[in-house]
């Protein structure tokens, strides 16, 4: 028992030290969105796209990151006509939840997207449903609602053009935009 509590104290101390070291990153953003575009997932969107099949490797990596850094994987994908979180992406959400809980000033916009099939305004609503799914998951993980905002882009910001099932799959996503 004693060993455990020492270890925990040590872990907390280390985390605090890391957070202190990284605070400039969190502070300068201050939760406001960067520049002209709510496209925070630009770089990592590409990385995420290669992991549509969801091996969980990214999740493990995310789990091992210190809580001071925004997790690398910032896009999760959805099945056709669904807004349920796929099991292989739960660890990604858990990593973001951990980051947000540890950085109370951090804000994230959850951007919901759909593939381009179907009507635009209905897709706007579907995209919002997906982002809300993620929001609920994060709140259950203890993230404060005040840190979370939802915006749906429907089919307006496609990540990948084209009519293949593969292209459609890469568009059905929620992006974490810090």
């Amino acid at each position: 028992m004693q060993f455990k509590s020492h270890a925990r104290t040590l872990a907390i101390a280390l985390s605090l030290a890391l957070i202190a070291g990284c605070s400039s990153t969190g502070g300068s953003r201050d939760g406001s969105m960067d520049g002209t575009r709510a496209d925070g997932g630009v770089g990592t969107g590409t990385a995420g796209a290669g992991q549509v099949s969801g091996t969980g490797v990214s999740g493990d990596r995310a789990g091992q990151q210190a809580d001071g850094r925004i997790p690398d994987v910032r896009t999760i994908y959805f099945d056709f006509d669904r807004d349920t979180i796929r099991p292989e992406f739960e660890s990604v959400l858990v990593a973001h939840a951990r980051y947000l809980r540890s950085n109370g000033n951090a804000r994230v916009v959850l951007q919901g997207h759909t593939d381009e099939r179907g009507t635009r305004e209905y897709n706007m609503a579907l995209g919002e449903r997906r982002a809300n799914s993620v929001k609920r998951f994060l709140e259950v993980q203890g993230v404060s609602p005040s840190q979370l905002q939802v915006v749906s882009y429907g089919e307006e910001r496609l990540a990948v053009r084209g009519n293949s099932e593969d292209a459609h799959a890469q568009n059905r996503r929620v992006v974490f935009a810090y």
């Binding site: 179907g118 706007m124 609503a125």
Partner: protein, 429 residues
Amino acid sequence: MKALMTIWLSAMLLLFSSLAQANLTIEITRGSDRATPIAIVPFSADGESLPEDVAQIISDNLERSGYFAPLPRNAMYDRPTSGDEVRYGQWRALDVRYLVVGQVSRAADGYRIRYELMDVSGQRRMLGESVSAGSNELRSGAHYVSDQIFEAITGIRGAFSTRIAYVTAQGTDQDMQFGLYVADADGHNSQQVLNSREPILSPVWSPDGRKLAYVSFETERPAIYVQDVGTGQRAQVASFDGINGAPAWSPDGRRLAMTLSKDGQPDIYIMDVGSRNLERITNNSSIDTEPAWAPDGRSLIFTSDRSGGPQIYRYSFGSGQTERLTFTGNYNARGRLSPDGEALFLIHRSNNGFQVARQDLGSGRLVVISETRSDESPSVAPNGTMVIFATQQGNSGVLGAVSADGRASYRLPSARGDVREPAWSPFLN
């Protein structure tokens, strides 16, 4: 003649192409087998070189409607320009049922167009008129003449003097440029209404044809704006938390139905444009969106997935009751009623993909009327004869148009980028 016309049109497009221009060309994809043969003889020009070929504009208008099959010019032996020059026997031999002849001359303030519409089998003049057009209004004059001819023969008011609004999108996904434009119904005379780096969607014309309501993401969230097309002045009317979308004008122009998700999930609300007061229409856990008014203002149709997938419903103001309208297939959305309120045009998902369909509200029978596969956003012409919509051609977004009976169709591609989100104006004259 058609090929030459297309080449001329393309050349003109290249010549005048600039960022502010997003003219649309017309490509006829299908003519109706029921189209009435008509001959529009080239109008005389009094030796002038005119900026527009009035007879060709009339011919193109009538052909595009799907109701008429114009005789090619090279089949015309004779070129009368007035009724008393017409030798009916010749035209009967060509199986032409109607004949249009005319003259364009310069006037002090522009042009004078004289035209006559002849009934070939009856061997009589049906209609004749002299019309004035300003110096820059020769096309408008030709559209007016087209309207008169169309109504005289079909009994239906012509919609050739109307306009369309549409959204363009150019660039790659990291660097897109969006534009909202208005143009003549045949794609000419485009003018830019809005320019943005963020998405624009759902433009709709006010009943007086003066304003557009639309959704813009320029604040990095969707908000509804109302903009006067003539003056450019605009107001942001809805920017609540969540979705602000799918605006639809009431027939009296005083209210906007819209989709707002500020109270938990997307529901239909009605906003009084003057006071900004909101009335909530739907309140349930499903998605309710894409409202549209019935022409008599007594009901609202909208898309709802309350039964598990998107279907179209009608809410009646009098009774407060909501009834489901569509039962064919598992995806029916974005309904728009015909001006007589008896037909519903919508997007229906079939084995072929998402297509424009018409449902006759009396019988409940649904028929797919487009031949393309990734259709969206149908908008009905104010005379109910034609539906314009967005679709794909290869990798490009283009506009398509199909007659209400599905027999005739054409496309309107853009010279640059994708075109989408069309909205047909009300009658403007």
